[in-house]
Symmetry: C2
Subunit: 410 residues, 2 copies
């Protein structure tokens, strides 16, 4: 295994010496062949699906058809169109010594990604890594192994066709234990990105010596300030909770200022009822919402929950300080929103709430690489180093200092 | 312990709401009081020195006198003068949805630093952290504990005077085991920076769940290309090896093109002889240098060595490819230099050698935050995420996405 990882590490050098144009040619070929070989991918996908119970919620995520394959190919074409992230000059100046200094972006080297189920991830991450001149070590789940291997096979064919080393993209066997071998390969892997369940992320974080970029859970809050446009508040919460319940940027907790709670909560309940959203209510809001058909009592543990389903917590707070303290205590530093017409209150929220993404009067559902204009994302980072929030192509690079002199010594 | 760390974590909020001016007032007071209370610091320092054998190489690093305290105060004043690193707008654009998006710099939160011996580090890191609105958890060595505590006492007095929470800077007891308690405090510590021996760094890297920024060893190479100005080559290697042998940016390995080896090596030997530099020579260079008085045979292990003393490796290579492959295999990705009059060869070296800092015709000794115009540094990072090379004030921040809307939903 480590031998294969070393080969992948060595192969990155050839890629780093490849022009932007050649890389784009590869990406074009790859996306075309995804469509041309759709039948082979679908055959492989059927081998995976047959082993899964169709009532399993992962079944639909795993399923590929021609239309979905066209979407995957389209995403690869979008990556092709992005600006080359390498060799960008970040700083340039002459030092006192006379040396000319430049800071430039450069490839990371080898990116390891561990992911579960969805087969589009293989294509996305491979495209992003090659575009940024990084080799990649990928580990998918057993469930999707046939599908993943079919896609990797196309990647390797197209690497070969474009005179690039096939070792650039290494798909590991899907056994869970194999991940552990990556953790000590500090010389050959520059970053590990776990993308999947919280268990997986915690396991990687606890055991990897290779630096990790964490794409974690989102317990996102909406704070309805006393000066909120109540209708806007309802719209944003409804969108944040119900438009795609299973994603990390959806709203889990609604904090309502006590001055408007008795007006706002019935309006909100009316909207959420339509989607049969369960509400875990604190004492005060429970009193206001008592006729709501899907009402439960919130315990302290519920404040920590990322629901990933049609459920949320509602809590009445006495003021903005209490709302911000609640977010500080229970938030996961992902996406937080204040709804208010008061710009001063909004500025205070935006400045001092500690999260990757903070909003004033807009849905947290916008936290997404494509929405932010960054292109496809590797994930949403909830850590503070290197990449925070949507983690896209522009962050698949490191920096490098380049100094040119005329014999200067110190 | 964790209770105190929580207090430090909570105290960061007050600091984040403090103006740049108030922070600078604190730094001014702190630097003034370092000088005003020099006698007390020196008394505490004597208590540490008395426990150490004066022949110990750490003795001089630990020793403080009025002059050195003035230098420490001067460094704090320099930090004060640096631009506020927080709230810098990195990107700003209107999204298709109509939302106004900004990416800004923001404080990391809580920075933990673990360091050995030199007491200036307490003052430096505290000043850098407060300037960047981060709270700090510090752990020094037992050897320097009295001195560290004397400096921390001044910091706390001046925090109080400036209406800032004294909890902002927490000095942990100097016991080694206490470090382990930091490793799982992911909720309260945002980054750990180990600054010291390789053992310490490896221990932190292997055990911390909190993200680590590694400031590692430097096995730095000078490659004397066939078209080098030989005199310049001698000057740069002499400076890189002998000007301060114990630092990470000094030159350990000299790779000499075979076309010029028999001319260059005698010139180099003549210079290095003056400082009695030991040369570990490969077979070919051993033949050329056989009359050199401090000559040894190089084994493969020597190529991995960071000497930190007046010693180096010399190896004759057949061309630039071999030189670059050698650096790829044995380098620590810190600082590497090519000496040549051939700009094409230089460009290839600068572009494709994988290191934090790459040089053409200048000494690797310039790899330093102050030299690069960044101000005091926390260390030289040899990892690729977040900070690479001199790790200074500008990297003691994270990024934050701020979105302002008018009720946009997705």
């Amino acid at each position: 295994m480590i031998k294969k990882i070393k080969q992948t590490h060595a192969s990155r050098i050839k890629l780093q010496q490849t022009s932007s144009k050649s890389i784009n040619n590869f990406l074009q070929d790859f996306s075309n062949q995804l469509e041309a070989q759709a039948a082979a991918i679908i055959r492989a996908n059927k081998k995976d699906l047959i082993k899964m119970d169709p009532s399993n919620s992962l079944y639909d995520r795993l399923l590929l058809n021609e239309d979905r394959i066209r979407q995957i190919a389209g995403a690869v074409r979008k990556v092709k169109k992005l600006t080359d992230p390498c060799g960008k000059i970040l700083e340039k100046r002459k030092l006192e010594s006379g040396i000319l200094l430049e800071k430039k972006t450069a490839p990371l080297g080898v990116v390891a990604a561990i992911f579960e189920s969805r087969p589009n991830v293989v294509a996305d991450i491979s495209a992003l890594c090659i575009k940024s001149r990084n080799a990649a070590v990928l580990k998918g789940s057993k469930d999707a192994d046939n599908t993943n291997r079919a896609i990797i096979s196309i990647i390797r064919q197209m690497l070969k066709k474009n005179n690039l080393p096939v070792e650039l993209i290494l798909l590991l066997p899907p056994e869970r234990e194999i991940v552990n071998e990556l953790f000590t390969a500090t010389r050959y892997i520059d970053v590990i990105i776990p993308r999947g369940s919280n268990n997986l992320i915690q396991h990687v974080r606890a055991n990897s010596r290779v630096p990790v970029i964490e794409t974690g859970a989102g317990v996102c809050h909406a704070y309805i300030h006393k000066d909120a446009d109540l209708e806007m508040g309802v719209n944003i919460v409804f969108n944040g909770r119900t438009s795609r319940p299973s994603v990390c940027n959806s709203i889990d907790s609604i904090l309502v200022d006590e001055q408007i709670a008795s007006k706002f909560l019935p309006l909100l309940a009316k909207a959420l009822k339509e989607k049969q959203v369960e509400i875990y209510a604190d004492k005060t809001s429970y009193g206001i919402l008592k006729s709501y058909p899907y009402l439960r009592k919130a315990s302290k543990e519920d404040y920590y929950r990322e629901f990933l389903s049609l459920a949320c917590v509602v809590k009445v707070v006495k003021d903005q300080d209490e709302a911000m303290a609640h977010i500080e205590e229970y938030g996961t530093r992902h996406s937080e929103v204040i709804i208010t017409k008061n710009n001063k209150a909004a500025d205070r929220f935006l400045e001092f709430v500690d999260a990757a993404t903070v909003y004033h009067n807009a849905s947290t559902r916008f936290t997404d690489g494509e929405e932010f204009g960054l292109g496809a994302e590797v994930g949403i980072s909830t850590q503070k180093l290197h990449a925070r929030g949507p983690f896209a192509l522009e962050k698949l690079v490191t920096e490098k200092w380049v100094l040119k002199g005329n014999g200067e010594i110190r």
